[in-house]
Amino acid sequence: MKKEQFILYLIATLFGLLVAGIAFYLFQTAKTPSNNPTTTVSIASPTPTATPSISLKVDRPVDEEVVDNKVLTVSGKTQSNAVVTVITDSSSDVITPDASGNFSTTVNLDDGQNTLEVISIAPNGESMVIKKTVTYSQEDF
């Protein structure tokens, strides 16, 4: 009888410890971080810079790209009223973007490395230039 009672107490204690452990675990996970005294840091706003009157983004081709086709598509976005000039080592083209400012044209590449320069010129004469290097090669390495 006493032995049974002892075992019962032992199991009850273990069970109690288990429940307390679970309760402690749940309490710890649900605890929110304490509110530490905060210090206010003021960050000086950057000096405003003059907004450029023209923007230019060339999506294709990617700089330093290696292609195996001599005809290369050049596309991007600029101001809708700008004039876009695409210049390669041996050819050049002047195009106007659509109403959304998107432009696209094709140029012929020479063998090896080609320097591609895209110049967008706003009606007031301001311009923006993006330079890329594109390599035409059919070498397998």
Binding site: T85, G125, K131, T133, E139, F141
Partner: protein, 237 residues
């Protein structure tokens, strides 16, 4: 009564503790298959990452240093690039007669490099190195036209003033909204036009460009930045 309580307590403990232990110990064939699958996925992902780490790239740069195993160049964006050279790298120079190798590459030479770019080390393992010449492109506004000498003075947005020599072989184009991009002539170029000139710098005078192509825009004036740049240059003098 005690036995029943004892049993129910034991059952409760069993339900709370033992299931996880039992699951952890028994490895079924399904688990093993899953482990192998996970391992395979990890291995494939690692190999794909390795393959993606290297890609073909081509750059143009001016040599700043060259050794038997490495070339250092300044690329078109003015970044310093390190090029590794090995026994498989082929060198060429269109103007050279006979063999051409790494020892023939000197500082200041413009070269085109085609090779394998490692995204991690940011170095290119060169497979082809070629001595190249890129045309010079200047863009600005026409400040003066010399009809007698067939020359145009062009001021750029960075305050430079260049003389553009127009030769017999120079191709001249103009662009207007009405006519689009058409062939034109030297006589149509006027002061304050927006202009792009493409060619090579005169070896004797670095402020003179011998033009191969000229594109001018009669409807677009010189950039307003040009005047302020020229003023700043004059003030600094």
């Amino acid at each position: 009564m005690y036995k029943r309580t004892l049993l129910s307590l034991l059952l409760a403990v069993y339900c709370l503790i033992l299931p996880n232990a039992v699951h952890a110990q028994s490895v079924t064939p399904e688990d093993k298959t899953n482990q192998i699958r996970d391992q395979l996925i990890t291995n494939i992902a690692s190999r794909v990452a390795q393959l993606k780490l290297v890609e073909k790239r081509g750059i143009i740069g001016v040599v700043t240093n060259a050794t038997n195993t490495q070339i250092t160049v300044n690329d078109s964006q003015n970044n310093t690039r390190f090029i590794d050279v090995d026994e498989l790298t082929k060198f060429s120079n269109p103007d050279s007669e006979g063999s051409f190798g790494i020892s023939d590459i000197t500082n200041g030479t413009t070269i085109g490099i085609l090779g394998l770019y490692n995204k991690e080390s940011r170095r290119i393992l060169a497979r082809f190195v070629t001595v190249t010449t890129s045309p010079v492109i200047i863009h600005g506004g026409v400040t003066a036209v010399d009809n007698a000498a067939y020359a145009i003075n062009v001021a750029t947005e960075d305050g430079k003033q260049m003389t553009v020599d127009v030769e017999n072989l120079t191709k001249t184009y103009s662009f207007t909204q009405e006519t689009d991009y058409i062939k034109s002539g030297f006589s149509k170029i006027k002061e304050n036009y927006n202009i792009i000139a493409i060619g090579a710098l005169d070896k004797k005078n670095k402020d003179t460009l011998i033009a191969t192509r000229i594109i001018f825009f009669p409807e677009i004036p010189s950039s307003p930045k040009i005047n302020s740049a020229l003023e700043n240059v004059q003030k600094s003098k």
